[in-house]
């Protein structure tokens, strides 16, 4: 009891004495672990390299500048590939995610015992593997190139899109579906009139948001051979062509800024 009586006057404290000591003890333990870990990291760090870091960074920066603008002519094509990987991958993901989402949502699943766990498994499976790892596996399966990238982005995004979409389906207003049912509508009509209008804004927002994420993810897929601007990045780093690297990074930055602007504009328009 945090309330204690002192000559009939009740005194209230936030915690009892025992809990107070407990909280203090946990803080002590936390601090001790932190200090210990600090010590461990410090011992295993070669401090000479760290003291050297500003010099090294300055050196790298000088080697990266100025960006080799002439290299741009060789980047348009991979940039176009990157955009295609992101866009086609997102479309593939949407195509697969919509049925998965309807199977995963509690209020629309055909069977809560059989189909729903399967759909949830697909979602978790897709989400638990990074697109870079999907790409790595797909490059060994179907060979290097843009196609592997598209599939990798698609498989990674299915879970994301399906998860957010099925949450949106579960949050719909059931009265509207009930009203459509009461008119004598059949199953597909109930979905088209009762459910789809309610989830359309969420659907558009999720898709565009995922497309935006995929633009960023597809820029690195080339590192494992799955096409796009990452191939050039990998090649430039390997050959220590730092002025090309800086140009590629600038191009990626510009692409991401533009895609974020596009996605924000579309989402704003859809509400």
């Amino acid at each position: 009891m945090p309330v204690r009586h002192d000559k009939d006057i009740p005194i209230w404290r936030r915690r009892t004495t025992a809990r107070k000591w407990g909280v203090w003890g946990l803080w002590l333990l936390g601090t001790a672990i932190f200090v210990y870990c600090w010590q461990l990291i410090s011992d295993k760090t070669i401090w000479m390299f760290v003291w050297d870091a500003p010099t090294q960074a300055a050196d790298l920066a000088s080697r990266m500048s100025p960006p080799k603008w002439g290299y741009m002519s060789e980047l348009w094509r991979p940039l176009w590939d990157t955009l295609n990987i992101a866009t086609l991958g997102t479309l593939l993901a949407i195509l697969l995610a919509v049925p998965v989402a309807f199977c995963a949502a509690r209020n629309t699943t055909p069977s809560a015992l059989l189909v729903r766990p399967l759909a949830l498994f697909i979602i978790v499976g897709s989400r638990s593997i990074n697109s870079l790892i999907w790409a790595l596996m797909l490059v060994t399966i179907i060979g290097p190139g843009v196609f592997a990238g598209v599939i990798a982005i698609g498989l990674r995004s299915v879970g994301f899109v399906a998860k957010l979409l099925y949450e949106a389906i579960e949050e719909i207003d059931p009265d509207q579906v009930e009203a459509i049912t009461a008119t004598g509508a059949n199953g597909p009509q109930r979905v088209a009139y009762g459910i789809v209008p309610q989830i359309l804004p969420a659907f558009a927002g999720i898709s565009v948001f995922r497309w935006d994420i995929n633009i960023r993810e597809s820029t690195v897929l080339g590192l494992v051979g799955a096409g796009g601007i990452g191939l050039q990045l990998d090649a430039s780093i390997s050959t220590l062509a730092w002025t090309q690297v800086s140009l590629i990074l600038l191009v990626i930055l510009a692409t991401v800024v533009v895609s974020e602007w596009v996605s924000a504009t579309i989402r704003h328009a859809m509400i």
Partner: protein, 277 residues
């Protein structure tokens, strides 16, 4: 017209919402179903179109037994029963016209409805109904732009375009202000008279029920405890429907909805500016 025969509804939790309901509603009769919250009013009208599946008993619409129908037969039977909801239950992101036409979904195939290619007669009827309920210039508005009273008018039009024989009306005025409530009830009753429609109206506002219904049925804990004219609804009967405790509370000046007070101050001038809604 509508006949309920020993209808029982027991929910999975073990609650008996309806306990052997026998009820007959002849054609053209407007029946008000009153009773406290949880008495089973909503369950009763949902058992008629089987949005809620009755546990036992039978429901007949005309000569047809609703309770024994398969899913396609049920869909066809539902076309004959229009339903109006408390929170309007319009599809918020669709236009007024789309909402009204959704009442024809039972008659139109999927692709036609998906591409909004409704038959010309249906569209003409939708325009007629919208003008009848006073929403001529709202056709292209989205449902979520409308006020409560306007939304309920769209709900009424959606139910009527089904060309039903029976209206199931679930608390049509519970989300509306007193003035709009009366207008909506008046509209529903007029339309029933024009088309000699039977209607079962769930309503917890007793004065409103008295004003508009020809017949009142009182429900308490899933059992019909009163069935008669509005005039027969004495304080004693109300006590039987709503229970002694609630009734005493309203007698001491609380504004319980069960108090029959025709001079409800809330409907006085302060809502005059809402007339058009």
């Amino acid at each position: 017209m509508l006949r309920l025969d020993q209808v029982v509804k027991e929910y999975k939790t073990g609650d008996r919402a309806l306990n052997g309901i026998d009820l007959q509603v002849p054609q053209g009769q407007v029946l008000a179903l009153i009773g406290p919250s949880g008495a089973g009013k909503s369950t009763l009208i949902r058992c008629v179109n089987r949005l809620v599946e009755p546990t036992s008993g039978a429901v007949y619409l005309g000569d047809q037994e609703i309770t024994s129908l398969g899913s396609s037969g049920l869909r066809r039977a539902r076309r004959r029963m229009g339903m109006i909801f408390q929170e309007y239950a319009l599809v918020e992101r669709l236009t007024v016209m789309e909402n009204v036409l959704s009442g024809r979904l039972g008659y139109v195939g999927f692709w036609r409805s998906y591409f909004r290619r409704f038959p010309r007669e249906d569209v003409a009827e939708a325009f007629r109904l919208l003008s009848r309920v006073g929403l001529d210039n709202m056709v292209d508005k989205r449902a979520d732009e409308l006020s409560g009273g306007q939304r309920q008018r769209v709900g009424i039009a959606r139910a009527l375009i089904q060309n039903p024989e029976l209206l199931l009306v679930d608390e049509p005025t519970a989300s509306l202000d007193p003035k709009t409530s009366r207008q909506i009830m008046r509209l529903i009753c007029e339309l029933c008279r024009e088309r000699t429609l039977a209607a079962v109206v769930n309503i917890h506002d007793v004065p409103l029920a008295r004003m508009f219904a020809e017949r009142i049925v009182g429900l308490r804990q899933g059992v019909i405890v009163y069935d008669g004219t509005p005039e027969g609804l004495s304080n004693q009967v109300l006590t039987e429907i709503y229970g002694v405790e609630d009734w005493d509370a309203s007698d001491t000046g609380e504004t319980a909805p069960s108090k029959p007070d025709p001079t409800r101050p809330k409907s006085k001038p302060d809502v005059e500016h809402l007339v058009g809604m």
